[in-house]
């Protein structure tokens, strides 16, 4: 009894501090970019005529900054802080911690440089180019080694529910990132994903949906299980609920990706999987909210006084709201109305601001005083921050839901004459521009609240005592033999390797069942002889389309709905995008669908429209693309590009590949000649605008006619 061997150890809090500071700084940057984007949709001139700031290039920077820089740094701060304490062990290696921190910041800086310059993979939330993707993989491995190394040297036999969530998140994010990012490089800055069309769509939304799941949700649930009971000093409501909702959540979450592809050319059986698994996800998601909120029993009166609890309770409430709205939006008929509209934008911000930002704020207010051995500078500012953020969030959410439903109803309205009630798309945009202004105000308030927190934390840290010594702790070394007679889940909690394997299997089951048919079955995509690969000039144009991020405002997927048939033409088919590396189906229609825009207008229409959309369509909110009229098309790389595409199965002949640049020049000349009547001079023939027009005019023409 008395010969307990006590070991002495300390925690590495310096890396936690760094991550905490990075969290708020990147958070402010990400939100500022968001505010600029919101302003651009209210009035397009907020891009200040700079190509780097146009909506299509800037929006990926906003999403990446918020997800990977803001929330990313916040979960790393929380994981490094809580893991050491929950395992009674210092991180495995201080050096790996530091490599993780600085590597991650380097990735963010590289993202902030490349995305505005138009270097992009063209896949949502996975826009970063391949060298950065490799860097992400390496840094993630560093993180994983550091984390699992710490697990190995823990002094606590059993791992707490927070750690379960961290394990599942680390494994799954690695899997998602690697599988989705595989591509073949053309050059240092450009590559084509190996998947195309419907397969790319399936992989991409398996990734996109589960990035929300395993980056924005499960790690934060893990943090919730640590910081909420800590802040309230109450026992967690139900251990059993933790077990059931953890396993059901990670098992079911992974299946739900296809709910982003309802009514698309994805085979219907896969769409239905996405829908039903999203519905079954409702209760497992709520398990976390219930366990958090019921832990507050007897402490609700403190919510009125303490900002930390206000942030946590609001975060959990919005988590519950969003995870109810998500399954709702996955019901086919609801999706048919909400998809492509601002309702979805509202939905993600209820999650992003309501859940992630609110939680991070609560966590930082809890963590910063502990780390720096100080007090929060001003409870008053924290309170003001809370109310500012909440008001901003409400304005944001309500304006977007109203805008989304209004526009969705206008798009689908068909009258007794069998015709669209609002045939001109811009009419449906005009109608919701006032909502865009309200959203901008909401966004500004949220940004302001962030700045208040930065000030408050800065002052708190400034008041902190200098040179505090690292605290030391003592605990017994872990003796595995002491726990021989355990059973069931409790036993599993002591077997970290087995636990990790089981969690991996849980996320692999859904992945495999969805992917195997998509990659092995020939019926998954009906191939059509009518669909031909893009000409070399069209490939060049497509790459401009990707570079400019047109997919951030335009879809290329006409859904099988009568209103879309009337507005855009025949519903899109899977066969039509077999050569699309990457697919460009899009997820938001700020502008109209472009899947069949080919041949809809004369070439000159696009020429003048791209130069100044408002000259052609009054009230348009599309940016001007004036630089496409000055920059030259890169003909030289086309041979290389075609070669890479051919190696992935796009049937180009050797001759086409060899002559790619000549063929492209010829086509460019022809198009420019075509526009001579409209006053376009021949000297424009080698400009990028001509390549873009070639691509736009090709869209959807191969299978335009009825069968």
């Amino acid at each position: 009894m008395n010969d307990k061997k006590l070991e002495t150890f300390s925690y590495d809090d310096s890396v936690v501090k760094k991550f905490a500071i990075a969290t708020v700084l990147w958070g402010a940057v990400g939100m500022l970019v968001g505010v600029i984007l919101a302003a651009q949709l209210a009035d397009w001139r907020f891009n200040f005529g700079l190509e780097w700031l146009t909506f299509g290039r800037l929006r990926p920077l906003h999403t990446n900054a918020i997800i990977f820089a803001f929330v990313g740094n916040s979960i790393f701060a929380g994981i490094y802080h809580s893991t050491q304490r929950l395992l009674k062990a210092r991180m495995f290696s201080d050096m790996l911690s530091n490599i993780h921190f600085w590597g991650w910041q380097l990735i963010i800086v590289l993202a902030a440089l490349t995305l505005p310059l138009g270097y992009t993979q063209g896949k949502e939330y996975a826009e970063l180019i391949w060298p950065i993707d490799i860097l992400i993989t390496l840094i993630w491995v560093v993180f994983a080694v550091n984390f699992f190394g710490t697990l190995k040297k823990r002094r606590e036999k059993h791992i707490y529910v927070s750690i379960w969530f961290y394990i599942a998140s680390i494994i799954t994010v690695a899997l998602l990132h690697i599988v989705n990012s595989i591509s073949l490089p053309v050059s240092l800055m450009k590559s084509y994903p190996i998947y195309a069309g419907v397969q790319d769509a399936l992989v991409q939304w398996w990734y996109g949906h589960n990035a929300v799941a395993f980056f924005l949700t499960t790690p934060v649930l893990g943090l919730m299980y640590y910081y909420v009971p800590k802040a309230i000093n109450r026992p967690v409501y139900s251990y059993r609920l933790s077990i059931v909702h953890f396993w059901s959540l990670i098992f079911i979450y992974i299946w739900a990706g296809p709910h982003h592809l309802l009514y698309t050319a994805l085979p219907e059986w896969a769409q239905t999987i996405g829908m039903v698994f999203s519905i079954m996800l409702w209760a497992p998601s709520w398990g976390g909210m219930i366990n958090g909120l019921l832990t507050l029993r007897g402490a609700w009166n403190r919510v009125r006084e303490e900002s930390i609890l206000k942030f946590f309770v609001t975060a959990l409430t919005f988590y519950g709201m969003s995870t109810f709205e998500g399954p709702l939006l996955s019901i086919k008929s609801v999706s048919s109305l909400g998809h492509y509209t601002d309702w979805i934008v509202g939905h993600v911000h209820a999650g992003g601001i309501g859940w992630n930002y609110m939680f991070a704020a609560g966590m930082l207010y809890y963590m910063v005083p502990k780390l720096w051995k100080t007090k929060v500078y001003s409870e008053q500012i924290a309170k003001a921050q809370y109310w500012t953020a909440t008001l901003g969030l409400l304005l944001y959410y309500v304006s977007m839901v109203v805008a989304g439903i209004t526009q969705g109803l206008m798009w689908r309205a068909v009258d007794a004459k069998g015709q669209l009630v609002y045939p001109s798309f811009i009419e449906t945009v005009d109608k919701i521009v006032p909502m865009y202004w309200i959203r901008l105000i909401g966004g500004l308030l949220v940004l302001t609240s962030m700045l208040m927190m930065i000030y408050n934390l800065y002052k708190s840290i400034k008041n902190a005592p200098k040179n505090v010594e690292e605290e030391e702790f003592q605990a017994e070394a872990l003796d595995h033999n002491k726990y021989k007679n355990e059973k069931g889940h409790r036993k599993l909690e002591g077997l970290t390797a087995t636990f990790t394997v089981l969690a991996t299997i849980a996320v692999l089951v859904g992945t495999i069942i969805e992917f195997v048919p998509a990659f092995l079955s020939k019926d998954f995509i009906e191939v059509s002889e009518k669909v031909k690969p893009y000409s070399p000039l069209e490939v060049a144009g497509r790459d401009i389309y990707i570079r400019e991020g047109c997919y951030n405002c335009h879809s290329q997927m006409i859904r099988p709905m009568v209103s879309e048939y009337l507005r855009y033409g025949k519903a899109s088919e899977a066969a039509e995008s077999v050569y699309d590396h990457p697919f460009q189906w899009g997820s938001k229609r700020t502008g109209p669908d472009l899947a069949r825009v080919g041949g809809k207008y004369p070439d000159s229409w696009h020429y003048f429209h791209m130069k100044d959309p408002r000259k052609v369509i009054q009230g348009s909110i599309m940016p001007e693309y004036t630089w496409l009229f000055g920059e030259k098309t890169e003909y030289q790389v086309l041979t290389k590009k075609l070669k890479v595409l051919k190696s992935m199965g796009v049937p180009y002949s050797e001759e086409e590949i060899y002559n790619a640049s000549e063929l492209a020049k010829e086509q460019a000349k022809e198009i420019t000649l075509n526009m001579a009547d409209a006053g376009v001079p021949m000297k424009m023939q080698n400009k990028q605008i001509i390549a873009l027009i070639a691509y736009l005019q090709r869209l959807g023409v191969d299978m335009k006619e009825e069968k």
Binding site: P235, V236, M561, L566
Partner: protein, 202 residues
């Protein structure tokens, strides 16, 4: 040096009397856990979603329940039928209706506004042409320049050439108004006329 748990937990975790018997002996950095059973309504919801989902999936994937494609075909057919009916009866040019519209009080304003907003970009402010043809000359690509044929072009458009089917977008009244506006170009001299296109009709 301090005992491990004393870092953050100066205060004891607060446990109510009725919770004491379900308090587990787990202790992680001072965090304790209760062993409440799963909330009944929660479990019920979970079961309910499963009970809904499994038959729904089977019926839709293997059981021939209404599919998206099937519904789509029916809807399109219905829309096409109503379009046909409408075209046959009400879509045609009708001189009496036309005259009534152009005699109306707001006609001039509507005509001018519609032309400026919808047509000017391609046909010029005085009908001289641009992306679209000159509307002031005697040359016509479609029809012979009579009210009825010009009406038909505006109404149905030349969609593959970039000229939209304005009937569906504007409604009949505005099409009549803008038709009159276009008809009045005849005989005027636009400031920057496009060369003639189509056949000449005197």
């Amino acid at each position: 040096m301090s005992d491990h748990n004393s870092e953050n937990n100066k205060e004891q975790v607060q446990v109510f009397d009725d919770e004491k018997k379900i308090l587990l002996d787990h202790d992680y950095d001072g965090i304790r856990e209760l062993d409440h059973p799963l909330p009944k309504w929660w479990l019920f919801t979970f079961y309910l979603t499963i009970i809904f989902s499994v038959p729904y999936y089977l019926a839709h994937t293997f059981g021939g329940a209404d599919s998206i494609q099937k519904e789509f075909k029916e809807e399109v057919l219905a829309a096409q039928n109503s379009q046909k009916e409408y075209d046959d009866e009400k879509g045609k040019f009708n001189l009496e209706e036309y005259q009534k519209v152009i005699a109306g009080p707001k006609f001039e304003k509507i005509a001018k506004k519609t032309y400026k907003r919808k047509c000017k970009a391609c046909h010029g402010k005085d009908g001289g042409g641009g992306v679209g043809p000159n509307l002031a000359d005697n040359f016509w690509l479609h029809g012979d320049g009579s009210l009825e044929t010009v009406y038909n072009t505006i109404n149905k458009g030349v969609v593959d050439k970039g000229m939209a089917a304005w009937g569906a977008k504007l409604g009949k009244e505005k099409v009549y108004a803008v038709l009159k506006y276009v008809a009045d170009f005849k005989g005027t001299t636009p400031s920057n006329p496009k060369e003639p296109q189509g056949k000449e009709y005197k």
